[in-house]
Amino acid sequence: MARSEQQSNERYGGRWFWRYASPSAFFAPAGRIETLCWVLAAVLAAIGLYLGFFVAPTDAQQGEAYRVIFIHVPAAWMAMVIYLAMAFWSLLGLWLGTRLSFMMSHALAPTGALMAVLSLWTGALWGRPTWGTYWVWDARLTSTLILFFLYVGYMALAAAFDDRRKGDRAAALIALVGAINVPIIYFSVKWWNTLHQGSSVRPGSSSMATIMLAAMLIMTFAFWAYSIAAAMHRLRTIIIEREGNAAWLRASVLGGKR
């Protein structure tokens, strides 16, 4: 049985994380995190793209086409990581009944869906020159596609309820069901058809030159920063939408303007 926020508050009142688990307390830190992450994303992306296009050499086998890797792999990773984060916040929300957890999952979903689309799109454009086809029904591609469907289902379900509290918890449940299913789907699709190469990232092994790897990892951090910043921005918007009646919010958002 899910608890109400107040009950959880009484029970976990002394814990450190509780201080930031309410929208009012997290609104300002979220803004600071957002600004920091926008800056980080821009700087890291600039460094990563410079390394990727001007320092990293041409690949021996693939020529220049491999340069898609600097956005393809980070996007694919983020699509998965964001889904996991969404499922984590959903679980926390269902378990503790905190409003902020649900808002966090809602804030993550659109960016996650975008990452899934991006990794599919770049994958298709990379696959054409290297594998000889835009699309294969391979385990990784297919499960990314399904991940995209799950994101869409989550967002559609959250939007289908007029009662926001219901929508929050219903969407959280579907996120968890999806999280249990993703590995099952992945392995069954893998069984069904295996074509994607093994993962090439093993530092120290010869499968990727150091400079290429460095560019890719820096781009990955840029994607992380971007995702966090976007999620924090969306989180603050959701807090404004939902907590519109609260005095502290009016004071901090409208206070300066009037």
């Binding site: 109400s4 009662d163 939902r242």
Partner: protein, 206 residues
Amino acid sequence: MSVRLTVDALAAERGMRAVFSDVSFAAVGGTLMRVTGANGAGKTTLLRILAGLGAAAAGCVEWSLDGSPLPSTSASIFVGHSNACHEALTVSENLAYAAALGGADATPGRIEHALAAFGVRPLARRRFGTLSQGQRKRASLARLLVAGPEDARAWLLDEPFVALDIDTQSQLAALIEARLGAGGLVVYTSHQTVPIRCAHAVEVAL
């Protein structure tokens, strides 16, 4: 059997809007409790929370039987606006289903007895969908009696007198009185004032 209901600082919300807050009361078996309030004050919401069908925004509801705590779902029978009967099934099938879900074994004799108390015994083998509105209401109220007199659950009745003719209203009132006399707890909401004699009447205003 002695049912006890304790409600402490209860609050409810619907679609993020507060419906009521800080409602506290306690009641024991033999008490008739009437919940009053304007439209939209949250009478139905309160009853659904007591029944365990809805979640409270804050506060708690505790049921106990002879001192040992009970989960909400085993503590009460809820009769709401809908009849809780499927139109394609007969009256007795519907009642047997409700009884089995409630944890009781409904023998045909019990069902007939319960229907007789509302004067609709001949309808037992009719499809629910073929009944008139008044007949439907009576047949569905018979659900309260199917489990038998040893059933300790409290009755939660949401507007039970609506759509009942005068005869049935007094039948139901008599049954409620009998129930209270046997030590049962009855909580109801009503716009009509139907006289119910009882030793212990409490009113909760929302």
